[in-house]
Amino acid sequence: MRHSLLVVSQHLLPAFGSTVKEIEREGIKISDRLYSVFDGYTPATMAKSTGALIMSLTDSFVRLRPDWVLVLGDRGESLAAAYTATTMNIPVAHVQAGERSGNVDGMTRHAITRFAHLHFASGEEAAERLGRMGEEEWRICTVGAPQLDELRRRMFAPPEQIAAQFEIDLEQPLLLVLQHPVTEDFGQGAEQMRITLDAVCELKAQTVLVFPNSDAGSEDIRRVLGTYRLPFMRVERNLPHYVYAGLMNVATAMVGNSSSGIIEAPLMGLPAVNVGDRQRERARAGNVIDVPHDRDSIVSALHRAMSMEFREQLTADSPYLGDGQVSERILSALRTTAIDSRLMTKRIVY
């Protein structure tokens, strides 16, 4: 299927790891690079960035005249694309539709659903929710979670590569830290990160910490990260998924509030200590230990997560379907769905 990839916002910024380079390295053709992120990382600059992106997307859509616009997840960028495409009468397909996240991203995902003509759900629970929201049954396709395809096929960096790249001793425990600022808790990100890092320091294990994204509050978190450096901690800007999954593969446990602890980690038998509310609405597997932003709670959860007993009773099961066929199902649906007035005229059916 012919496709045009638009790489936007954070992916283009060195401060977030210039992940566009990862795409270029794969030899994937990029049609447009749309710069839209305002500096400051406050709620106001986040809102303005979305506006800037809509302006750029419009010109891209006029030039490319796509048959479908495919968006993913619950980010403002995806909402900008869904809104713009629908306004321009271009059908929108939405991957990872119908899930619940637990913060403002959840509202964004819900809004994207309203602007999307085809919904790709990662599992039964998400599909049912879309139906309850009033979306027509035939628009909902339960295909699975695409990122799990790669994990199922074990497409990630092997342990030797990870050990070399991050200077890790594979015989020793390894902790992975990923904590994002929570938009509703704006102003508390730094304190929350400090609490998590206090806890991590107690463990004195090899630690790899991945920088937060560009949401409002991320600057404060980075500042805390910078001043909290300890000899056993390695800080990385955004990592290619191939490498990140390789890290999950060798890690003893992960801690923070990333969705990967909820969605991907269970498939890899990786315990995840989930701190705070950012992922509160997502369905959980047995690998997740939920704790509040409190140092002692995080420390005891980490001890439990890293214990033999806990790790042994984990099954490599995710509540999100990922059998290696997810991408095929999405492509098939896009190829066979007729673009007609039935598709473009949305009805809400309660």
């Binding site: 910024l13 060195p14 401060a15 500042r223 910078g226 001043t227 450096r229 390695r234 990385e236 800007r237």
Partner: protein
Amino acid sequence: MSYLEALTVAPTDTIHLAMQKINNNGMRAVIVVEDATVVGTVSDGDIRRALLNDVLTITPVSGIMQLNPRVITVSDTRGRKDIILRHNLTLLPVVDATNHLVDVELAYDPF
């Protein structure tokens, strides 16, 4: 500026300022310090790679600095030259137990 000032920048300082300091310190790198803590290093090589990526010199160094710089604790006096040689460094920040910068070990005399 004093020699110590020429060896350090803040994370919010621009790449341009880092280049000026590197120009003055003769060690082809600067140490990034925030609240007296070593948070990174920026070398001529880091700047070259950034320029090749079309990064502007008004960009803060926090966006391009090495996040995991090699440092040595003030109590470790014997391993310094060894680390400098093994990893081809021009300078090695010397820190105390809380990662505060207390000294800098230089690979050679810049004067």
